[in-house]
């Protein structure tokens, strides 16, 4: 009984995901009330009908009380609803089977939001544009977009339940120094350097390459010019790879599970169950590249309908709710520019556009466009290459401008800066200069006119615009910038025919790597299941049952293997004991997270015959153990979610390592 819904303020469904049980419950509910002849409304409409009162009420509360719902729970915790407002989108997660706690659900929402960002980059900044990305007017495209994220959510749910690294949100490495060294050398010479030396790389520059065995990291190499990859991004990439090529054991599990990884989500539209079929028969695709076409998910993106009349109802509702009519023209502008989009070329192994955080020349720049090439070597073993295109600097400029306007918008909203104070603000001068420069180099009629309009409102001495007018103008400029960003990076995505590495280059790299690793293949697959064994620790820590060590500085973790599937067994064997320990570990992670959110860095407890403990400590490079950063208030104000996929925590501290120790 699980469901996730993303909706606008007007209760328009932007995305939904649900499992079979929830779908069944909906059918029961609507099957009774609707007459059969009329046919059942689509799941999307059902959800919208059911939850609209809650969404509207949530917005009303926000408006009147400046506080809004975050959680509902029904008797005995039978049902749990978690609500989270990201920008203008309300995310709702529902659980009706006691399997997830409030923390889990909130985490899920954060991950979903993060995945949106990875896929759409800075387009997420603008509510109108992201709405159209998530809910293309064309039904078929909409289904495709939703299917993609539904599949990702399924994969995430599975990984979080099965893999310790996803439970604690840190990357798990395959521990084999010798092999790792070999692989890094191969990645450097035969992948990164080979690609970058190739004349046919179409302006793409390979930055990172890494090898994954199931969900564990075997080796990672970054070129010298590349900025480092955040652990959160790496985890997200692993998630994407796992979604494309579910590892063997997972496929087995899926066969036994009652609910398929991605259920048929909509009856009305025939959907290609491409990835599901892939997961059902992973062995069939051992030699990658040859069969790719047979399971193309047709990941086409949309070309929105030009007519404003057919515009998504969301914006109409939005208009009704007090947005000035001037916005309509803006929507029109945005839509016109959207028409140039080219549909993406199909194929899961075809390169994908993803947006990752980088720091370019000491400048932090989030959501820089990259292209991801996932090259399967053997089932369970994948190589990922990340490249960046020639127009990356544009992303940086756009980000800086957007950042400036967002700040301005915030100030205007708060009503602080009006008129002359605003004009003399250093931020404004800087912004103006950069914007002028940008327009000179980029052109773009609409942007130019919008910017002019803003400038007259903001800087003209004769008739200074009101704060409210300025705010609107500011928003319009932002939207224009987002549109440019979207056109440059999403519309010209490699999957849609944008520039990318030629296929033969990909193939060559893939074959090379296969040759290098062919002797190790079987070993790796086994090793990934028995990465770290408990035996080596028992001598020093008799009675230790399990531990997880997480180094948040690098976002990596070490833990003895816990088997997740029926067939493989860990040291604890299979059956009740292993299951019991697994459950305990997961429960402890949950509990520790809850206490950590309240600022407790040490947790020791005794439950039944087991002693469990959780420590978070701080280290810097000189001293083995530094004092806890600051005591008191800072510690208490940890962000709501911790971990890599939902970032925010690490920025608080210089360096953190935490460990879960359980004996």
């Amino acid at each position: 009984m699980k469901c996730v819904l993303v909706a606008t303020e007007g209760a328009e469904v932007l995305f939904y995901w649900m499992d079979k049980e929830f779908e069944e419950s909906l059918r029961l509910k609507f099957g009774q009330s609707e007459c059969e002849g009329a046919g059942l409304p689509t799941l999307e409409d059902q959800l919208s009908t059911l939850l609209a009162p809650v969404i509207i009420s949530s917005m009303t509360m926000l408006e009147k009380l400046s506080d809004t719902y975050t959680c509902f729970s029904t008797e005995n915790g039978n049902y749990l609803y978690v609500l989270h407002l990201f920008g203008e989108c309300l995310f709702i997660a529902i659980n009706g089977d006691h399997t997830e706690g409030e923390g889990d659900l909130r985490q899920k929402l954060c991950v979903l939001k993060y995945l949106f960002e990875v896929h759409f980059g800075l387009v997420t900044v603008d509510g109108q544009l992201i709405r159209k990305e998530l809910r293309p007017p064309d039904l078929e495209q909409r289904v495709q977009v939703w299917e993609h994220f539904q599949s990702l959510l399924w994969t995430y749910s599975r990984l979080r339940e099965q893999e310790q690294c996803f439970a604690v949100e840190a990357v798990e490495r395959l521990i084999h120094p010798q092999l790792c060294k070999l692989c890094i050398e191969a990645l450097e010479r035969h992948v990164i350097q080979a690609i970058n030396a190739s004349p046919k790389r179409a302006g793409e520059e390979a930055l990172h390459a890494f090898l994954l065995v199931h969900s564990k990291l075997l080796a990672f190499y970054s070129s010298h010019s590349a900025s480092s990859l955040r652990p959160a991004d790496l985890l997200a990439l692993i998630l994407l790879v796992q979604d494309l090529y579910p590892s063997e054991s997972t496929a087995e599990d899926n066969d036994t599970q009652p609910s398929p990884r991605r259920p048929q989500s909509s009856q009305s539209i025939p959907v290609q169950q491409a990835w599901s079929s892939c997961s059902a028969d992973p062995t069939g695709r051992s030699s990658a590249g040859t069969e790719t076409d047979s399971f193309s998910p047709a990941e086409e993106y949309f070309t929105p309908a030009p007519s404003p009349g057919e515009q998504s109802s969301g914006s109409t509702v939005w208009l009704e709710e007090g947005t000035p009519p001037t916005d309509a023209s803006q929507v029109q502008v945005a839509e016109d520019t959207l028409q140039t989009l080219v549909p993406r070329s199909p194929g899961p192994s075809s390169p994908r556009r993803i947006f990752l955080d980088t720091s370019v020349k000491e400048n932090y720049c989030p959501m820089v466009p990259h292209t991801m090439y996932c090259l399967p070597l053997w089932p369970g073993i994948n190589m990922v290459v990340l490249t960046k295109g020639p127009n990356t600097p544009l992303a940086l400029v756009l980000y800086q401008l957007l950042d400036g306007f967002s700040l301005l918008e915030k100030k205007l909203k708060e009503g602080q800066e009006v008129g002359s104070t605003l004009r003399s603000h250093p931020l404004m001068g800087d912004l103006r200069q950069r914007m002028d420069k940008f327009i000179k180099s980029r052109g773009g009629q609409e942007l130019q006119s919008t910017w002019l309009e803003f400038k007259t409102k903001a800087f003209s001495r004769s008739e200074p615009g009101s704060s409210w007018e300025l705010l609107q103008a500011c928003r319009r400029v932002k939207r224009q910038l987002c549109t440019i960003y979207r056109l440059s990076f999403l519309a010209a995505a490699p999957g849609r025919g944008g520039p990318h590495l030629p296929q033969h280059l990909q193939d060559r790299v893939q074959t090379l790597m296969q040759e290098k690793l062919t002797d190790w293949k079987d070993f790796l697959l086994v090793k990934s299941r028995r990465n770290v064994t408990m035996v080596s620790y028992l001598e020093d820590f008799p009675g230790l049952v399990h531990f997880i060590y997480v180094d948040r500085t690098t976002g990596q973790m070490v833990a003895p293997s816990l088997s997740s599937s029926e067939r493989t067994s860990s040291e604890l064997g299979r059956g009740p004991l292993a299951t019991f320990v697994r459950t305990k570990v997961w429960a402890l992670i949950r509990l520790a997270r809850r206490y950590l959110q309240k600022g407790y860095t040490t947790l020791l407890f005794r439950e039944g015959d087991f002693y469990c403990s959780y420590f978070l400590w701080f280290e810097n490079e000189m001293v083995r153990v530094a004092r806890p950063l600051q005591d008191g208030p800072e510690m208490l104000s940890f962000p709501v979610t911790l971990g890599s996929l939902s970032p925010g925590f690490c920025s608080v501290c210089l360096s953190i390592s935490s460990r879960l120790w359980w004996s």
Partner: protein, 716 residues
């Protein structure tokens, strides 16, 4: 951690589109909230409740906002909502709401009825005073644990607590009275009621509400004029569960006797079996008085006090003579006619027969036919208790027959064959002690009256106190016959009141199992509230300055002037005495604030009695607030995870320890007591923090492979 809102909303008043939301608002706290705001909250939350319940198929219980959380209870068309701070654990929030609802229904009956019959203004006024009372009396800790307020027992003479317990017992012997509690200035001195009922009685509405016509109109005809001064009787509504527990309550100690007897050897382990009694005082032979105190409190209603007295008198004979005005001085004279003599009579005369005979008596006379099976099954417990008394005589003889296996006392007989199997492990010891008593019985002479049918009945039922008495005489009796005799005399003090009301009480007391169902039935029939499972009862309150005696009685009490008089006169003098003593001891304590310069904070929560002890000051400092936060977190975890034993959490600068332990001697009920949660200030905590990060950390750290210097990380 306080409340922000509390409201009662009647959805049936707002059905159509045109109906204003305000029509449905029955009560809203704080009342000065703008009406628009009230409407917003009520309307939105009612809507969401409806919507979510519809989707989920189960009622919505919590709505959480960023800064607020609402506990919700749906009762037909009515919606109860309590808005709390988010830090308050869900469980506590819900309990608070349940408590509020419980108190309302206790005094007003089911909400729909109350609002149909009563005017909104009056009820709102009632709410206002009631909520004010709760808010002024509760601290954050109380809100977290939802605990009751006990008198600080470390500051009260334990004997006063004992006395309070005895007053309650005395009252219990009156007709209709089921159980009660004594409060002093809003704090519990002694209670026989389960915590839920104690809480309701605790919020006894102040003066204004008493002028309200009680919902059950018959109160006026008899009550008004006939009531003694300072006494009020008002109809109240208890839930069926509570009613059953009230009726069953007297038999409670009996069933638990084997356990309690077995526990005699380790007095420290003595605890109330179920938990509705006062915690024991700590001073003066802690274990002993403690045991006594609770047993007193839990003693079944028609108890002849004498069974209890031996303890008190044995230890504190002087106290009696001085303080127990109504009974004390007079008693010794009557000792000859008390139970003791009865016992000795039994001893001297047909020892073997008396047992069987009395058993016969019991079943024939006191127990209605319908109850026979039940009582006979109940006997399986009785003998355990009775064995000492009843068997003693027999044992005297059988002792000579079969030889005494008891090394301790030659007189101590072996367990009678008939009852041997039923005796608890400690029975031999009890026998020894009874042997001592028995000798005393001889000394005091055989001046017994004609056998009163119920004579043995009460002792049998007072199994609780008895072991204590035995242990006591075991200590003193064997070596000091004179002391023992004295004890015996005091022992017999109580029953003076017996001859008159005794038999009545007895039959009353024996009947409850038989009576209660019918009583319930009639009650529920007479009460308009039968549909919601409420049982009407009477609450008798007697205020003596700060002291309040509250008794729950069956409904006929109101019409039974004689019974009221009896209760009143039976307790008046002792209440006065108790009040004076409490007043003497308590005020100076109250003057003393929390100990200055606390080195630590602690809180102790007794889940059985629902009582809290803590050293937090009234006004919480920043550090206290952190302590409270930790406590509330841990409390909710303990509530959720049944196997959780101990939790230690630490901020960077504070360490909290909370340890609930299973009581060793209480099979069946796994109560968890939280022992100190300490917040040592910075130094100690950081050290403990450091200690913990020690060995394992470095070890694991070392084994982390440093291979493959890839660069997936930068410090984020």
């Amino acid at each position: 951690m306080g409340w922000s809102y509390f409201f009662l909303y009647d959805g049936s008043k707002v059905k159509g589109e045109g109906d204003p939301t305000r029509a449905g608002i029955c009560y809203f706290y704080p009342s000065q909230t703008l009406l628009d705001q009230q409407e917003l909250l009520c309307g939105q939350i009612a809507g969401v409740v409806h919507c979510i319940s519809d989707i989920s198929g189960s009622p919505l219980t919590f709505v959480r906002l960023r800064k607020l959380k609402f506990a919700i209870k749906v009762d037909g068309d009515y919606l109860w909502v309590l808005g709390c701070a988010v830090e308050l654990p869900d469980g506590s929030c819900k309990q608070l709401l349940d408590q509020l609802i419980g108190v309302f229904t206790f005094y007003n009956g089911p909400v729909s009825l109350a609002y149909e019959s009563g005017s909104r203004e009056e009820l709102s006024a009632g709410w206002d005073t009631f909520i004010e009372q709760i808010l002024s009396n509760t601290s954050d800790l109380h809100r977290i644990f939802n605990s009751l307020w006990n008198l600080d027992r470390t500051k009260v003479e334990p004997l006063l607590l004992l006395k309070a317990a005895l007053i309650l017992q005395t009252c219990q012997r009156s007709r209709h009275v089921l159980a009660g509690c004594i409060l002093y200035k809003g704090l519990i001195v002694s209670t026989q009621l389960p915590p839920s009922l104690t809480a309701k009685v605790l919020f006894h509405p102040a003066a204004p509400r008493d002028q309200e016509p009680p919902p059950g109109g018959d109160a006026l005809q008899e009550g008004g004029a006939a009531l003694p001064p300072d006494v009020q009787i008002r109809p109240v509504f208890v839930t069926e569960g509570e009613a059953v527990s009230l009726h069953e309550f007297p038999r409670e100690p009996v069933t638990s006797t084997p356990a309690s007897a077995a526990r005699l050897q380790e007095p420290s382990a003595l605890r109330p079996p179920k938990g509705w009694s006062t915690p024991a005082p700590k001073e003066n032979n802690p274990g002993h008085t403690e045991a006594m105190a609770w047993e007193l409190a839990t003693t079944p209603e028609p108890t002849s006090p004498n069974t209890v007295w031996p303890d008190g008198s044995g230890e504190n004979g002087h106290w009696y003579g001085r303080d127990w005005e109504s009974v004390g001085p007079a008693k010794p004279r009557h000792s000859a006619r008390g139970r003791g003599p009865g016992l000795s009579r039994a001893l001297v005369k047909e020892p073997g027969l008396s047992w069987g005979k009395e058993e016969l008596d019991l079943s024939e006379i006191h127990i209605p036919e319908a109850q026979e099976t039940e009582t006979s099954s109940g006997y399986s417990d009785f003998p355990c208790v009775r064995a000492p008394e009843g068997a003693d005589p027999g044992c005297e003889e059988s002792g000579s027959d079969s030889g005494s296996p008891e090394p301790k006392s030659p007189k101590a007989p072996p367990v009678g064959t008939a009852i041997g199997g039923l005796l608890p492990p400690s029975a031999p010891e009890m026998l020894v002690q009874n042997g001592a008593q028995e000798r005393l019985g001889h000394l005091s002479g055989d001046s017994s009256q004609a056998p009163v049918p119920g004579e043995d009945h009460p002792p049998a039922r007072t199994s609780g106190p008895l072991p204590a008495c035995c242990s006591d005489s075991g200590q003193t009796g064997t070596e000091l016959p004179v002391g023992g005799q004295r004890e015996e005399q005091c022992d017999d003090g109580g029953p003076e009141s017996r001859p008159g009301p005794g038999p009545e009480c007895d039959s009353g007391s024996a009947d409850p199992p038989g009576n209660s169902p019918s009583a319930d039935r009639t009650n529920s029939r007479s009460a308009p509230t039968s549909s919601v499972g409420l049982v009407r009862m009477n609450l008798y309150t007697h205020c003596v300055k700060g002291l309040v005696l509250s008794l729950l009685a069956e409904e006929p009490l109101l019409g039974d002037g004689a019974a009221i008089e009896e209760v009143y006169h039976g307790s008046l003098a002792s209440l006065n005495g108790l009040e004076v003593h409490l007043q003497e001891t308590l005020p100076q304590d109250q003057a003393a604030p929390a100990p200055p310069g606390r080195a630590y904070s602690f809180t102790h929560y007794d889940r059985i009695q629902n009582v809290l002890t803590a050293n937090l000051p009234q006004v919480a400092t920043a550090q206290d607030r952190r302590f409270l936060q930790a406590v509330s977190l841990m409390h909710s975890d303990f509530a959720q995870l049944p196997t959780l034993y101990e939790v230690t959490v630490s901020e960077s600068c504070a360490l909290m320890i909370e340890t609930p332990r299973l009581l060793p001697s209480l099979p069946g009920t796994p109560p968890r007591l939280c022992t100190p949660a300490a917040t040592p200030s910075r130094r100690p905590t950081s050290s403990s923090w450091r200690r913990w990060r020690g060995a394992p950390a470095s070890r694991v750290r070392r084994t982390v492979p440093s291979a493959s210097r890839a660069r997936p990380g930068r410090s984020c």
